[in-house]
Amino acid sequence: MQGFNKVVLSYDEALDGLTNNMTIMVGGFGLCGIPEGLIGKIKCMGVRELTCISNNAGVDGFGLGILLEEQQIKKMIASYVGENSLFEKQLLSGELAVELTPQGTLAEKMRAGGAGIPAFFTPSGYGTPIAKGKETREYNGKMHVLEEALTADFSLVKAWKADTMGNLVFRKTAMNFNPMAATAGRITVVEVEEIVRAGELDPNHIHTPGIYVNRVIKGSFEKRIEKLTVTK
């Protein structure tokens, strides 16, 4: 019996069942807090025609950028994709579809997907191209747009620490979209810096309870910095 032991020892096991045409949801903001090893594994697996939900699309040669290089992504749902020249090329050539979504709406759509809320009204994007074809309605004297939830076949999450039962703790701004992604995947796979024994994480301060997590793998991370800025 496996009980609640979520730990897997190989990336093969971590992404077992991921196939062509699936939808993946990937945590991270820019290159911060991304599941580097899981993305690398998808490249190796060569699965194609993926729909990818992630705030950003990585950069050339790193993060989700490496899946763009291999043309494994057919559609990207994101709020900002400006750091990636390959992305631009594929978009203009029509190889890649993109559905731009306001960042707050994207975060809320992911949360809603995990929370059993199929749709919600938000003021974001009213009167803009984003609202085109969507239902709008006035509340409190202000117009709102009806937005629908997002879910995925696989959610790929990066956390700082996990215990063996899949309870997660994130670190600083590497949290970002990861907690919502964790709730919205049919199968949620988490790559972490450290796996600790159950009971070692303070139950009062677990960011993502293990109920959302199917598999945990210990990764190693480059943590590339996108814009290094220092105080002289």
Binding site: T105, K172, K223, E226, T229
Partner: protein, 218 residues
């Protein structure tokens, strides 16, 4: 003389109040942090999940897990907190941020703003800008009054795809401080040495000019 980038930031900083929670956009808005008046405390919110953003780190303190919404490495101040993107936009969309400062390509006399997309050029995405303008109680747009060809950016009606409709009430341009209400621009202050005529000339939208337009005081 038109305001410099630093002067723009300085003028915007006059909109701050002690105890304000503030979201600063990329570019000139970021510079506002350098001009918080002495003795005043503000907390900076970064929409990627940080309340209490500090300065850039020293070489020794660089942390790839600690960036701002512009993806730059930053630090956190005493009393800061980290949270998810959903929680971050709970703050923003829920109207809990006191002041939002951001740039724009165009603003019109209805208070609509275009800042994220120039058709024909590549679309990079709106990031958090649509959420910010749709929800903030208090937004200051800071930008040049006209583009490089001398064409006004304060229009009767925005020509570019909107970021938000009828949401902007204050503009700090390099020529003037302008408020928007009753579907008109209202000239409140002019940059030192800039004539009212020049501002009128560079404002395409309907501009109400009072008898006396004081110069900005720094």
């Amino acid at each position: 003389m038109a305001l410099t980038r630093e002067q723009l930031a300085q003028r915007v900083a006059q909109e701050l109040c002690d105890g304000y929670y503030v979201n600063l956009g990329i570019g000139i808005p970021t510079l506002v942090a350098n001009h918080v008046p002495e003795g005043m405390e503000v907390m900076l919110q970064s929409e990627n999940g940080l309340l209490g953003m500090g300065e850039f780190p020293t070489e020794e303190n660089i942390d790839p897990d600690l960036i701002n919404a512009g993806k730059q490495t930053v630090t956190a101040v005493t009393g800061a907190s980290y949270f998810s993107s959903a929680d971050s936009f709970t703050m923003i969309r829920g109207g809990h941020v006191d002041l939002t400062v951001l740039g724009a390509f165009e603003v019109d006399q209805n208070g609509s703003i275009a800042s994220w997309m120039i058709p024909g050029k590549l679309v990079k995405g709106m990031g958090g800008a649509m959420d910010l303008v749709a929800s903030a109680k208090n937004i200051v747009v800071t930008m040049t009054h006209a583009n490089k060809k001398g064409e006004s950016k304060l229009l009767r009606k925005c020509t570019l795809p909107l970021t938000g409709a009828a949401c902007i009430k204050k503009i700090v341009s390099d020529l003037a401080y302008i408020e928007i209400h009753d579907r008109k621009f209202h000239l409140i202050e002019r940059a030192p040495g800039v004539s009212v005529d020049e501002i009128v000339l560079k404002t395409e939208g309907e501009l109400i000019v009072p008898e006396n337009v004081p110069e900005m005081v720094f």
